[in-house]
């Protein structure tokens, strides 16, 4: 088991390949909720094979409980595999949308703030901008902190997705 120590405990990233069938999400969510684990983010998407879906889950908690959750998830008939991945072996990425109010913030100010990040303005409405950012979770956290000072009206984040580097499967 590998995990990254976060401010509240351990943050774990688990990748699962699951059968594309009704009820799979509930079965997996139950493996977490039954043990009092809160899921921070959960991404379900198609995989390269249409019979299977890909899930990426981030959660915080003690490694022993998480090991149990992974073992219990692996027991599920609809789960092909469930693995935990760390930063060294896998690419992590996430997308965020920030709606920032225009009042007092010119486009050039915003562009100045975001230029150090993989981010861009994708909507320029009367009252607000929407900024799209792609990157690692910690980069998204940084920009979020900066933008909050300038008035974030809304925020949406996709949650982390991972892919293992090289020939190892995710």
């Amino acid at each position: 088991m590998t995990a990254i120590k976060s401010k509240d405990g351990f943050t774990h990233t688990i990748s699962m390949l699951v059968a594309n069938k009704p009820g799979v999400l509930v079965r997996i969510a139950m493996a977490f909720s039954r043990r009092g684990f809160n899921i921070d983010s959960l991404v379900v998407s198609p995989s390269a094979n249409e019979k299977f879906s890909r899930m990426t889950i981030t959660a915080q908690g003690d490694p022993e409980t998480l090991e149990q959750i992974i073992r219990q998830a692996n027991k599920l008939v609809d789960v092909i595999h469930a693995w935990e991945h760390n930063d060294q072996e896998a690419i992590h990425s996430e997308l965020a949308l920030f709606k920032v109010r225009k009042k007092g913030n010119s486009k050039s100010v915003i562009n100045g703030l975001i230029k150090a990040f993989q981010a861009r303005i994708i909507d320029d409405s009367e009252d607000s901008f929407i900024i799209e950012q792609v990157g690692e979770t910690k980069e998204l956290d940084k920009l979020e902190d900066i933008l909050k000072k300038y008035g974030v009206v809304e925020m949406v984040r996709t949650g982390k997705v991972v892919m293992v580097k090289g020939h190892q499967p995710t």
């Binding site: 022993e64 149990q68 692996n74 008939v77 609809d78």
Partner: protein, 566 residues
């Protein structure tokens, strides 16, 4: 052909003999298809009875028990029995009716979301969407329920899928369960490494659980124990995996286990679990569990590894297969002193009882053991009588001890005994139940009577919920709350109301004679044993305390309230 007819054909192809069921609107097409089937339908009196019967059938035969009930309240009534089967790893197929697919989720009559309600208490479940899926789902369900670590599988069948036309070309399609994982074949290098762990142990202890029973590993357990000369303790559900009359047997271990088995737990330098899950009835306190001992774990379920105990070494796979291989690589151990120590404890702290205050449950159970020569299939309910039965009805044969272990489901015993008798009609089946639990499911007396099942129901009647009363006496200053069962029926007359012969015992003098008559009676019989009201099960390890705190004799001082779960 309808979906229901296809379903029944698939069940026939799986070798199903019995369906334990109760009809209703959403399963009428299935019951209709059963009219022309060779499968025998057993009409129960309540859906909980059906699931426990199927469970008893499965435990007694090793084959999956099959249940068919309707939607809504029938499905929820079945849940307790499904949960019981799940906790004890029992193969069971549960077919539930459901409203028609266009009405799913629209609060139709007798609709409940059975798929979701059952999800936490099944190994796997299905909601059928089309009649043509039925053969694949049934095939997968039977495969999943029996292989690996067994467990119940539920199939929810909307009525339009069973009443509708079946148009697929085959009743034997390919399965589609790529995520279903069975343990890989164990490498000989791993077996050898595991076998090495036993080397130099002078005080080994084998902890044998239900997994060894399910795996039918009793011969291998015996050979292994005899080869390494290790004493064997079983869990409640491990009874039968090792003959309890064998000199190496320490009987049942744990909260109400024998004093000597728990002494072994304290004294051992190595403990090897074979198909037990270190449950809190055995490992009552993880911090003080087998201190200093090497811990080894054999289990078919990878999910059990590191769950409670972090083993020094483990093997994931079938107990019978693993022991067969392991036997080739272990040598006899120097256990002479250890076995002498065990013999000392056996003599010093034997299981015992006395009838000086009147007829005891222990005596009645001991009589049953002697009269039946230990050859009955014993099925218990849950509570004091269950522990006394575990202690005093020694189990020497596999598949002859049926009890709700993990779930502790009151009401299990009697219907499960009927299921066992259906599965093994030639064997002597003895249900040992309490007055509390029996009243939860005695409605199945009708089923026993109609089918003339010669089950003997020994009702241990102390007019109390004895186990809870025992806790209240020992830990709650004898403040009795909600445990008084005064108002019990006359159980002999209750049997007679269903046409079942009744026997009554209320004194020591006549007990042997009446028990002999009753146990040899040809048909179903109730044996109503009125025993002394206030008696406690000992030894006892208070919940949450370790084996160091075992109470062997009735305590004379006040005990603190237990910190453990229950």
């Amino acid at each position: 052909m309808t979906g229901a007819e296809a379903l029944i054909k698939c069940l026939e192809n799986q070798g199903v003999e019995y369906i334990f069921g109760y009809p209703g609107g959403a399963v009428i097409p299935i019951f209709d298809a059963l009219v022309n089937s060779k499968i025998k339908l057993i009409l129960v009196r309540h859906e909980q009875g059906a699931t426990h019967m199927a469970d008893g059938y499965a435990r007694a035969t090793g084959k999956p028990g099959v249940v068919c009930v309707t939607s809504g309240p029938a499905a929820t009534n079945a849940i307790t029995g499904i949960m019981t089967a799940m906790m004890d790893s029992i193969p069971m197929i549960v077919l539930t009716g459901q409203t028609i697919t266009p009405l799913l989720g629209k609060d139709a009559f007798q609709e409940t979301d059975t798929f979701s309600v059952s999800m936490p208490v099944v190994k796997h479940n299905y909601l059928v969407k089309k009649a043509n899926e039925i053969p694949r789902i049934v095939k997968e369900a039977f495969y999943i329920t029996q292989t690996g670590r067994p467990g119940p599988v539920l199939i929810d069948l909307p009525k339009d899928t069973t009443a509708g036309e079946f148009t697929a070309s085959t009743l034997d399609p390919e399965m589609d369960i790529p995520g279903y994982k069975l343990p890989a074949k164990i490498k000989s290098v791993d077996i050898k490494a595991f076998a090495k762990q036993f080397k130099n142990s002078k005080k080994p202890l084998l902890l044998v659980g239900h997994g060894a029973v399910i795996s039918k590993a009793h011969k291998e357990v015996l050979a292994f124990a005899e080869k390494i000369k290790a004493p064997v303790a079983t869990t409640l559900l491990g009874k039968g995996a090792f003959p309890e009359s064998h000199p190496l047997s320490l009987g049942m271990i744990g909260m109400h286990g024998t004093a000597y088995s728990n002494k072994a737990l304290i004294g051992c330098d190595l403990i090897c679990s074979i198909g037990s899950r270190w449950d809190d009835r055995v490992n009552t306190n993880n911090m003080e569990f087998c201190l200093g001992a090497k811990k080894l774990h054999i289990d078919i379920d990878q999910g059990e590894i590191n769950k409670i105990v972090k083993p020094d070494s483990y093997l994931i796979g079938d107990a019978k297969e693993i022991l067969t291989e392991l036997l080739k690589h272990v040598d006899p151990l120097e256990t002479g002193t250890w076995l002498k120590e065990m013999d000392f404890y056996k003599k010093e702290f034997p299981l015992h009882y006395s009838n000086e205050h009147g007829l005891t449950a222990q005596y009645v159970i001991d009589l049953a053991y002697q009269i039946t020569k230990g050859k009955s299939i014993v099925v218990t309910d849950v509570g004091q009588h269950q522990m006394w039965a575990a202690q005093f009805y020694r189990t020497d044969y596999p598949d002859s001890w049926l009890s709700s272990g993990g779930a502790g489901t009151m009401g299990y015993g009697f219907p499960a005994a009927l299921g066992a008798q259906f599965g093994r009609p030639k064997d002597h089946v003895l249900a040992i139940v309490g007055d509390g639990g029996f009243q939860m499911t005695f409605y199945e007396l009708a089923t026993a009577s109609i089918h003339k099942l010669p089950v003997k129901v020994l009702v241990i009647d102390n007019k109390y919920l004895g186990m809870v009363r025992q806790w209240q006496e020992l830990f709650f200053d004898n403040r009795l709350s909600g445990v008084d069962l005064e108002g019990n029926p006359d159980f002999v007359k209750l049997g007679e109301a269903y046409g079942i012969k009744g026997f009554h015992i209320d004194n020591v003098e006549k007990a042997q004679e009446i028990m002999t008559q009753a146990l040899n009676y040809k048909g179903p019989a109730i044996i109503h044993a009125e025993v002394i009201k206030e008696d406690n099960v000992f030894p006892m390890i208070p919940a949450g305390k370790s084996a160091y705190h075992m109470i062997i004799e009735p305590p004379t001082e006040k005990l603190e309230r237990p910190s453990g779960s229950t």
